[in-house]
């Protein structure tokens, strides 16, 4: 039966969807968060394994062209599932310590992951919209998880209102593009001949919708508040999986629906990339709260990634995918350690000054934090450096030299705020006599794996870059 | 019917006009009759006689007298009420419940309008009722009204789900939403040679579907045992507390119209609509109207009968019945009917 083969092409989606429902039922009947946690890990790992094996499988379309699989989509799935799996592993200890360990969290995470998987495998604007909405609605709930903490509620409400607004833009864009091209399939939009007012308005609104989801300046206002207010491991999930999914979908739309209009949207993205890098880095410099700092740093990273999008070549797209992978690894790691420090003193223990002298109390955590932060700066032996290098190189090939210069300067400036955390960790005296407990084995192990991957792909990027490069040699 | 009208009226807008006001006339006459009937049924079930004096024979003109009395009452709008909404609410309720009758086929020769999505239209327009109830309760600026309106709206929207799901399980069998076509499918005597070709005899699950539909429609029409909106012991008058005189009368007419509407829908979907129970005997457009109204009135009578038989539910029991029993059951029944249709 051919429909059975079609179902195989979306196997990770099916696994995660079924897992979400299963965990929801576990919650309803047993109420046990431990069981839900175990089930979530098992299902996420299975989906990750399937997605990794799909990387080497065929590429194509299924479900009458609604879904695209293999290649970029599979890599998007790998990104999403990596983000999901590691944030779930880190979540348990953190949520247990802060008293918010309820089984619903895991089903919401799984539903959000389902939306992201749909987003990265969409070949049609309607599928894309479905994915974005499933993802966003679950994330709004997750942001407001700690409902007796004011910041969390504020984060959820802000995220919801602004997110709904941005969704409106996206939907208007889709509607106008449909009006201009008569279809919501990406390939049909690419074939539009009559590029009139409606077409350009549609493209513009679509870009605005995406800029919001990837938190590009000036649509970034929600990011710091939401990242600070949400529980830290949930923030890790939002910052990595959802952003990676949005970027992959952005690449799909740009490369498949709008390849002919590249000259036009490239200029727009050029401008927004510039703004995002400059504003993100400057605002990160003055943050005293580590979570806010990481939020602004994620805005800055979005800026670097957008350089690759502005270049818009196949090499640039594969560089962007690599960057997203490195970004996912190091961000989850950094947020994981913030979460670890946080569980000793509660939700507000995230000021930089709180970290004074903590580095030597649990050296392994201090060292891991340095690895992730150095990787974010973009210092050679780590994956973050390779990501930045490849994106900048692809942009230079396309002649975007001024943009790359700004990017390099911005990342030089970023050294200050990343190293400031390390200075507090290792070079200041501890003020409050806090005693750090030992993190769990799984917690440490997952952070170690993340750090190991960061270093491995920093030293040996060829494994991944060759694979990513091969995605773009095949034409659909 | 349309040809008959056209034979002595100038063709065009006037025919359409006369054609479409017939339901309104039927309902107004019916409402007067049904209110009298309710009193008589109530009386006789309790071993009383009910109204006996007004008009002579068994107090037949009691409701007309009541109507005249109501018209002479003072038209009161509370000082603190939201005047506009307060005045609008009865009109919306009245118009919505009466407009729904347009899609009901009263006989093989008469239907107000051949709307293709007939049953869908009826479901859609009757859901305006809960809007008018919320409007009335909110505008009154009275605690009883607001509480009653919230409860009534919660009840109405909750029971709308099982109603619609059972309607859908009939639609699975008929394959059309047009009630005229649904009725035409039920013409003749197919089952076992003598049973009429009605949908209730179609499969055992249709009987279950009808029972579910009838229970849900009792709640939709706010009849006992689901008449929480009128539970005077807790809520005084519910959303109608501040209404008096003719404005209250309009709500009353709406309730009775709603009862007939749901009974007629039930008769059309399950009991062959205007089809005669005796095959071609006593068949035809005029007899059709007779059978249709008779079937509707029998269901209305059962509703009145239940009122004096069953006690009222509590508000939490009301929600339990709907969400824990009726909705799952109606979905299961929908699946079973679809399976039955696939196999046979």
């Amino acid at each position: 039966m051919e429909s059975a083969n079609e179902l195989l092409t979306i196997l990770p989606l099916i696994i995660i969807g079924a897992a979400g429902l299963f965990v929801m039922m576990l919650d309803a009947f047993t109420g046990s968060a431990r069981l839900a946690y175990l089930a979530t890990i098992l299902f996420s790992a299975a989906a990750l394994a399937v997605a990794v094996s799909d990387l080497f499988g065929p590429m194509g379309e299924s479900f009458h062209g609604l879904i695209t699989y293999g290649g970029t989509s599979s890599f998007g799935m790998v990104l999403v599932m990596t983000g999901t799996l590691f944030s779930v592993i880190l979540s348990r200890d953190y949520l247990e310590k802060t008293g918010m360990h309820i089984a619903e969290v895991y089903s919401m995470i799984l539903f959000a992951a389902f939306g992201m998987l749909l987003l990265v495998s969409s070949n049609n604007l309607v599928t894309l919209f479905l994915g974005i909405e499933t993802m966003s609605i679950s994330l709004y709930v997750l942001a407001g998880l700690v409902k007796n903490h004011k910041k969390s509620v504020e984060a959820a409400l802000k995220y919801f209102l602004l997110g709904a607004f941005a969704t409106g833009f996206l939907l208007y864009g889709i509607a106008l593009l449909y009006g201009a091209s008569g279809s919501t399939f990406l390939v049909d939009i690419a074939a539009t001949e009559d590029k009139g007012m409606i077409y350009w308005a549609g493209v513009g609104l679509l870009l605005v919708g995406f800029f919001f989801k990837i938190s590009a300046v000036p649509f970034h206002m929600w990011t710091p508040d939401v990242y600070q207010g949400a529980p830290t491991t949930i923030t890790a999930f939002m910052a990595t999986a959802s952003k990676a999914a949005a970027f992959v979908a952005f690449i799909l739309v740009l490369s498949r629906a709008l390849p002919d209009a590249r000259a036009d949207w490239s200029d727009v993205i050029w401008l927004f990339a510039l703004l995002t890098m400059v504003v993100g880095n400057i605002l990160a410099l003055v943050q005293d709260n580590v979570k806010r700092m990481l939020a602004y740093s994620s805005i800055a990273h979005a800026g670097y990634i957008m350089i690759g999008l502005a270049a818009g070549t196949d090499a640039a797209y594969s560089a962007v995918l690599f960057y997203l992978f490195a970004y996912t690894l190091m961000n989850i790691g950094a947020f994981g350690i913030v979460a670890y420090y946080e569980w000793h003193k509660g939700y507000d223990f995230t000021e930089v000054s709180n970290y004074s002298g903590l580095g030597f109390k649990q050296p392994i955590m201090g060292v891991l934090m340095s690895v992730f932060l150095f990787s974010m700066v973009g210092i050679p032996p780590f994956a973050g450096f390779i990501g930045k290098y490849r994106v900048f190189a692809a942009a230079v090939d396309e002649g975007l030299i001024s943009l790359v210069i700004v990017g390099v300067l911005a990342s030089a400036a970023s050294v200050y705020y990343y190293l400031r955390v390390l200075v507090h960790l290792f070079m200041k005296e501890s003020e409050n006599g806090i005693v750090l407990s030992r993190p769990g084995t799984l917690y440490t192990a997952s952070l170690l794996i993340l750090a190991a991957l960061t270093i491995f792909f920093g030293i040996n990027p060829g494994v991944l870059t060759d694979l990513l490069g091969s995605f773009w040699t095949v034409q659909y | 019917m349309q040809q008959f009208l056209e034979s002595f009226l100038p063709a065009g807008p006037l025919v359409v006009f006369v054609f479409s006001i017939i339901p309104l006339m039927i309902i107004l006459v019916y409402a007067l009759f049904a209110i009298w009937l309710e009193r008589k049924v109530a009386g006789h079930i309790q071993d009383r006689l009910g109204p006996m004096h007004t008009g002579g024979w068994h107090g037949w003109s009691q409701t007309i007298a009541d109507l005249v009395k109501m018209i002479q009452k003072e038209d009161i709008v509370p000082a603190k009420a939201d005047r506009f909404l307060f005045k609008m609410a009865p009109f919306i309720a009245f118009a919505a419940s009466y407009a729904a009758f347009v899609a009901i086929p009263f006989s093989s020769g008469y239907i107000g309008s051949m709307i293709d999505v007939g049953i869908f239209y009826i479901v859609a327009i009757t859901s305006l009722l809960s809007v008018s109830i919320i409007m009335a309760g909110w505008a009154s600026n009275n605690k009883w009204s607001l509480l009653g309106a919230m409860r009534t709206a919660a009840q109405t929207v909750s029971y709308e789900v099982p109603t619609v799901v059972t309607i859908l399980s009939v639609i699975i069998v008929t394959g059309t939403l047009n009630l005229m076509e649904v009725t035409e499918m039920q013409t003749g005597n197919a089952f076992l040679g003598f049973l009429p070709n009605w949908l209730i005899f179609h499969s055992p699950f249709m009987v279950i579907a009808f029972v579910l539909f009838f229970i849900a429609s009792l709640a939709e029409a706010h009849r006992v045992p689901f008449d929480l909106p009128e539970s005077e012991s807790e809520l005084v008058g519910g959303y109608q507390t501040e209404y008096s005189g003719m404005r209250w009368g309009l709500f009353m007419l709406t309730e009775y119209a709603d009862m007939l509407l749901l009974s007629l829908v039930g008769a059309t979907l399950f009991f062959g609509g205007w089809n005669s129970p005796f095959g071609s005997f006593m068949d035809g457009p005029v007899w059709g109207a007779f059978w249709m109204l008779l079937k509707g009135m029998i269901l209305v009578f059962v509703m009145m009968w239940l009122r004096w038989t069953l006690p009222r539910l509590r508000v939490d029991q009301l929600m339990n019945v709907c969400w824990k029993y009726l909705i799952p059951l109606s979905f299961v029944n929908l699946v079973l009917i679809a399976l039955w249709e696939m196999i046979f």
């Binding site: 039922m25 | 479409s20 006001i21 018209i71 107000g112 009154s140 929207v157 939490d316 929600m319």
Partner: protein, 135 residues
């Protein structure tokens, strides 16, 4: 196509006119003697206390949300029900999956006690908070 709905419009207009006529008649025939007692809110004969437009139980909002979910899902079943006999088994199983997921959602909300009206005390937010934590 749309002329099917002309009778609907006519009937609505006529219903409104009839209702208007009743009200106008009552205005003409009935007395008009407003008094402050008569125009006040009815509160079992006492003077009204405070405003009527107060906060009310969250259960009503939950019911409203559940209704929207189910009503929307039912809208998807309409086209299935009409064309089901022509499309056959594939459509049937697709719809079964759809209804199954919907059913799981219902089971979840039932288990979580969305419809247990008596179990949730109105003012007692603290106890709700603690019952929510699963240790």
């Amino acid at each position: 196509m749309l002329e099917q709905y002309i009778p609907v419009l006519l009937l609505v207009a006529l219903a409104v006119v009839t209702a208007m006529a009743f009200i106008v008649l009552s205005r003409l025939l009935g007395p008009q003697r407003p008094a402050s007692n008569k125009l006040g809110a009815y509160e079992s004969g006492m003077d009204p206390v405070g405003q009527a437009r107060d906060r009310y139980s969250v259960s009503f909002y939950i019911i409203a949300m559940e209704f929207i979910v189910f009503d929307l899902e039912v809208i998807f079943i309409y086209p299935f029900a009409v064309r089901f006999q022509e499309f056959g088994a594939g459509t049937f199983w697709a719809m079964m999956l759809f209804i199954f997921i919907l059913f799981l959602g219902l089971v979840y909300t039932l288990k979580k006690g969305s419809f247990d009206w008596t179990a949730v005390p109105l003012q007692d937010e603290q106890s709700q908070e603690s019952s929510y934590k699963i240790s």
